[in-house]
Amino acid sequence: MKRRDVLTALAGAGALTATSRRPLNPSLPHNCGCAPQIVTAKDKPPGAAAFHGVGSKLRITNMRVFGVTLDERIAQADRPYIFVKIETNQGVTGWGEATLEGKATAAMACVMDLKDLIIGSDPMQVEHLYQTMYIGSFYRGGPVLGSAISGIDQALWDIRGKVMGMPVYEMLGGPIDPRGVRGYYHADVWTLAEAKELRDKTKAAGVTALKFQLPDLLECVETNAKISRAVAHMEMLREGLGPDLDFAVDFHARPSPTVAAIILREIEPLQLLFAEEICPPENVRAMARAVRHSTTPIATGERLIASYGYAELIDMGVVDILQPDIAHVGGISALWKVSATAEASGVRMAPHACEGPIGGIASLHVDAAGPNFLAQEICGFVEAGEKNRVWEDLMGFPAMRMIDGRYALPTKPGLGVDISEAALKRYPFQGTRPFVMAFHEDGAVGSI
């Protein structure tokens, strides 16, 4: 018996509450006693009979998931792209991205686990389907489920926009500025001369912001040598880039709060755009310890799921900038909710994006409608590389390349992208690869 049939059978059985303990219909699956069989709606997705009078005539007829592996010489091997395509009975299709670093196969499987909740449903009910997937999955979050929901949610918004005949950012109340949204590229230099050369190239390209990494792995307490090297590296960057080019530094959760506090104290005069993931993300109070002595803007959030994941950070006033990743947080629906909650506390948004091009473009739509938006990331460099050629091959245009420091907004309805399935076949999925690991000199696992 398929899960869909079980749901229908449950609906037909009427309400059975935990307290009533009436005998279950013998045709129902075994009830272990810890999962009460409560059904009160006329029906559930798929089918959604309860909504027949108020929904649209559109129905989802198929959902497909594509794994896309690029040559590891041009893209990180741990993150084959996971694209989701939703098809409908009226020929409208939507695309989304569920890429999850190091867990590609799990995320693809999770997308298909959600298929029973999606096929047959009305794609216009994006909030209802988001809640169906999030609450209905019981465990409410985690990166695998979050990424799967993200891919599906983006595809649903793509369909909504196409049906309405407007870009998604217009449906969200934007754009704040039709010229596009500010972005930054990644960069990697090690000498003052390199930094100055990068400054010239960056300015020539019209780009206004960059992001760098720390030079070393860091332990829970650190030596003068490593702390000084980290600070000196950032001082070198400021000197080489000059005073009028913004740059951020991604600590990538390498330091402990203890070490982060020291570094943050010393780099205040550099006036960074932000310091990112200054310590591991699980313990908000620990992060608060590190940031209370610094005025450097603090950013975090790429590993958090759903708007709930950000509530404590916002309520406690710990950070200045949130960085949800639209491929993990729960798609457009969740990214918009995080943005809305952040705005109420004066927290800005700089969404993370270090996967494929669909997620990057989906982020632009939320960015364009957010009054508290700051800058959009993409894993790209000032000089376009081979990966950008592949993206152009997939998307039909040079996706996520800035013009005058901004990512241009799509103008077509929906997300404004049209993926070539023929092109996808040129980059066949080659399985999951683990996230890259790093070890300290004594062999202990380090946070990279």
């Binding site: 649209s56 009305d122 005949g165 039709p178």
Partner: protein, 379 residues
């Protein structure tokens, strides 16, 4: 308890691009407003009609506004596209009644242009019917009776009942007894199927409100609404720390920061943004905040029927929306005027719920002749 507040932040100002010059079917070409007053209750509200270059109209309602405010809102709105709700939310933030009216009119306009109900445009229906909360006129069984009878005829099963005010000469114990008795009398009058919200309209001190909350918590009101006007976290802590009564707050709040403060301090169990002062666009942001605290949303409404219907569309699109408050006039003349404005659509439910309308925009035609006839001023 808050352990850190690194920086006290306000919402940042944002620079919006100027209106796009080229023609567009959704560009707002006409702006018209009515200042409306109901004849008996004197309930006042502002209705705005926007018309796009493409010839589609949309209607929105907000609280009372002056003619000067309406003229300023018209200047800000004309030539913008009806999709630019974030611009309007920012541009009209100092005149919240018009922010609500204009932004809701834009939503109606766009939804009509796209031939979908507003709830569909807002993210699709999460429910197929919306729970109604009848806002009764008067205090106590005698004064509220006519309003309650009308509400019951309208198929409403949940109601607000106004708490009596405390005269300085009334001892606290007598006051508690008075509130308890009046609540019981209203329960008896409405029958066992009725559910109640106790509405203090911000008139109690935090101390009195705490005492009343404890005294009535076993009666299980759905919530205790606006127990006090003193909404600092420390003052509200007196109420929320001493009772398990759900507390509703927010009818006078117009900025997101204040809602966030209530939620972060655990001072509220159901947020009540006022439809007269907050657009659906803004309330969706309040709802996003509330959702992260598992707190429900039930917009306060004591305005006109266009606002009621806008609230129902919002309710239909938000999981954590609990109920939409509907004013229930005691007077037949007020009730007739409301039905006239909505071209015959009644704010009625079936077994406590309003069945969603699957028609474009708000789902009904606004009767402009009625607005012309009933308004204090047309601008």
């Amino acid at each position: 308890m808050r352990t850190i507040s690194r920086k006290l932040r306000g919402t940042s100002s944002v620079v919006f691009a100027p209106a796009i010059a080229e023609d567009h079917p959704l560009k707002i070409a006409q702006f018209r407003a009515w200042r409306v007053k109901e004849p008996v209750s004197n309930r006042r509200y502002t209705v705005v009609r926007l018309q796009s270059q493409g010839g589609v109209s949309g209607y929105g309602e907000g609280g009372p506004a002056t003619a000067a405010e309406i003229v300023a809102a018209r200047v800000a709105t004309l030539d913008r596209r009806a999709t630019e709700s974030e611009f309007i939310r920012s541009a009209l933030r100092r005149t919240p009644a018009l922010e609500a009216a204009v932004n809701n009119a834009m939503l109606d306009l766009v939804s009509r242009a796209k031939n979908v109900p507003i709830y569909q445009y807002l993210g699709g229906p999460v429910r197929y019917k919306a729970r109604l909360l009848g806002h009764l006129e008067g205090t106590g069984p005698a004064a509220s009776g006519p309003s309650l009878e009308r509400a019951k005829r309208q198929g409403i099963l949940a109601f607000t009942t106004a708490a009596p005010l405390r005269d300085a000469m009334i001892p606290l114990r007598a006051y508690v007894d008075l509130v308890r008795k009046q609540y019981a009398d209203m329960q008896a009058l409405a029958g066992p199927s009725a559910e109640w919200v106790l509405d203090a309209a911000g008139a109690m001190t935090p101390g009195d409100a705490a005492t009343i909350a404890v005294a009535l918590e076993a009666s299980h009101p759905i919530w205790f609404d606006e127990p006090t006007a003193v909404t600092s976290p420390d003052s509200l802590a007196k109420i929320v720390d001493e009772s398990v009564m759900p507390i509703g707050l927010g009818r006078n709040i117009t900025d997101l920061v204040a809602f966030q403060t209530l939620l972060a301090s655990g001072s509220v169990n159901i947020v009540r943004p006022n439809l007269a002062l907050n657009s659906l666009t803004k309330i969706r942001r309040v709802a996003a905040l509330a959702e992260t605290h598992y707190v429900g949303v039930a917009p306060f409404h004591d305005g006109g029927p266009i606002g009621s219907m806008a609230g129902i569309h919002l309710n239909a699109s938000l999981l954590y929306a609990y109920a939409q408050q509907i004013p229930v006039p005691a007077s037949d003349r007020d009730a007739a005027m409301r039905v006239e404005i909505t071209s015959g659509l009644k704010e009625t439910g079936d077994k406590g719920f309003f069945a969603l309308l699957n028609r474009p925009g708000l789902g009904f035609e606004v009767n402009e002749k009625a607005l012309d006839a009933r308004s204090e001023e047309r601008i």
